[in-house]
């Protein structure tokens, strides 16, 4: 299977999230449910990408990346804010990696952070934050 820059970006994000002290489980686009023993958890999704030519031989891609965080906590709203701050701090550090943002020379910028929070309370009080990012990277034409 061909290694793509997009996959390297997702792998770098998963590694970044796994390095956040409070996160127990970090995964690439997991759709099977988390149970409370796996939380705080984080999953990376890449729902959309837009590309345009960068000269005759290359393409720039704006990859929409979504980091979804889950906590099971009596103070879920407080916990999810704190966890989001930890993830933002890790992204801030990764943005300044001397090898390139996320440690990848193909990555140009990490931009447009947006946060959406949802909480539900049933047997457990679950808090979730969706952190949306736009990651711009460059490849050869028709590569991703």
């Amino acid at each position: 299977m061909e290694e793509t820059v997009e996959q390297k970006i997702v792998d770098a994000l998963v590694a970044l999230l796994q390095g956040v002290d409070s996160i127990v489980t970090a995964t690439d686009g997991r759709v099977t449910p988390y149970d409370v023993t796996e939380m705080p958890a984080a999953s990376v999704f890449t729902p959309k990408s837009e590309s345009e030519n960068a000269g005759a031989l290359q393409m720039d891609h704006d990859l929409a990346a979504s980091i979804v965080l889950y906590v099971a906590d009596r103070t879920a709203q407080r916990a999810i804010r704190s966890l989001t701050a930890e993830v933002y701090a890790a992204l801030g550090a990764a943005e300044n990696d001397p090898s390139g943002p996320l440690g990848l020379p193909q990555v140009i910028t990490i931009n447009d952070p947006a946060k959406a929070v949802k909480c539900i309370q049933q047997g457990d009080f679950i808090g979730s934050a969706q952190i949306a990012l736009t990651i711009t990277y460059r490849t050869a034409r028709w590569a991703i």
Binding site: G29, R30, V31, T32, P33, Y34, D35, V36, M39, S43, F45, P47, S66, V68, Y70, A72, R74, A116, K118, I120, Q121, Q122, G123, D124, F125, I126, S128, Q130
Partner: protein, 101 residues
Amino acid sequence: MDFAADSRLFLADSPHRAVVGFESVPVLYDAPFRQAEVHEGQVETSAPACTMADSDVAALVVIHGTRLSILKGDALVGDFEVIGKEPDDMGLTRLILTKDP
């Protein structure tokens, strides 16, 4: 038996009891599995609840935020907080619970 006249009959053979403070009353307890979709992913949880006689709800002053323990026989099932009250207007109230760790 006149169930309509005395809803407590539904609770008579229940193995579960709710303890509120120092008082204990019979309840019907269950905690079915729930899978919740949140953003792009899913999480597993449960939906614990117990059904209590209206007269016990009133006597024990069970309101939103009341903390109670559920016992099965002498064994502790768990500690909970009441987050919902659903009276059936027939003498029983279903109390929606969340875990109280």
